[in-house]
Symmetry: C2
Subunit: 134 residues, 2 copies
C-alpha cells in the first residue's frame, strides 16, 4: 500500500511482519519476544496507552528515543496489527497513531511489567498512566 | 569475587548491574526493559522456570542460543540478583544455575507473555512448562 510523503519523519514501509519470518521456535514466549523483545517497542506501546498519538509526542518522552528507531518500531507495530495510523485532527495532512484492539490487549502484560519494576527496581516511580482510562 | 576456572563455558564476571548504569528514566517499564528487554534474557528465565539448570541444557533449547549470549545473560541475571550459581550435584566441579526469589517473582510476567503469545500469535504452542510446579 503506497502512501504519499507527508510530514517530517516517516516510518519505512518495508518493515513486514517479523513474527513469521524470523520465528525461532513455536514457543509463545519466544514468538512474543521476537515481536516485542527489545528496549524500545514496549515504551512506544506505553506511550500509546498513556494517550500519546503524534510522532513528536513519542520523541518527547524522557527516554529520548531516536527518530529512526521510533519510525521503525511504529512501522513494525503497524505491520503486525498492533498500531494503526489515522489522519491527525490537529494538523492537516499529518498522521497520528493509536493502538488497535490487538495492541490494547497488551495492557495486562504492560501492567505486569510496570508492577514488577516498581516492586523490584529501586528508584522507579509510576508517573505516567499506562492507559487513558487510568 | 574471583572464581577459579572450571568447566567449559564461563560467564564473564565483568557484567555488573545494568539497571543503574544505563537507566533511561525512572519509569518502571523502561527500567524493567533495561534489564529484561531483549530477545534472549527471558528465554533463559523461561528455561530456568521449566527446571533447566546446566549450561548445556539452555544451549539445547530449540531457539539455539549462542554460547556467548547465554554466558552474558546468565552473568547479567546473576549480577542483578535474579539467578544464583550453585555447585552441580551431577558433575563435580561444575556449576549450575537457579532462580533466586527475585527471579521467581517473574512468574506472573512470564505467564502474561506466554498467554499473550498463545492468544495473538498464530502457530504458537505451549509445550514447555514454565514452572517446575506446573
Amino acid at each position: 500500500m503506497p502512501r504519499t510523503k507527508q510530514g517530517a519523519a516517516r516510518p519505512p514501509d518495508n518493515a513486514g511482519p517479523a513474527q513469521n519470518a524470523h520465528r525461532r521456535s513455536i514457543c509463545p514466549v519466544a514468538c512474543t519476544l521476537d515481536l516485542l523483545g527489545d528496549k524500545w517497542t514496549l515504551l512506544v506501546v506505553r506511550d500509546l496507552m498513556s494517550g500519546k498519538s503524534h510522532f513528536k509526542e513519542f520523541l518527547a518522552s524522557p527516554e529520548k528515543i531516536a527518530t529512526n528507531i521510533l519510525a521503525e518500531r511504529l512501522a513494525r507495530l503497524a505491520a503486525n496489527g498492533l498500531v494503526e495510523r489515522y489522519p491527525s485532527s490537529d494538523i492537516a495532512g499529518r498522521e497520528a497513531y493509536r493502538l488497535t484492539e490487538k495492541g490494547r490487549s497488551l495492557r495486562g502484560l504492560m501492567a505486569q511489567i510496570k508492577a514488577w519494576g516498581l516492586d523490584h527496581i529501586d528508584g522507579t516511580e509510576a508517573r505516567m498512566a499506562t492507559d487513558k482510562e487510568n
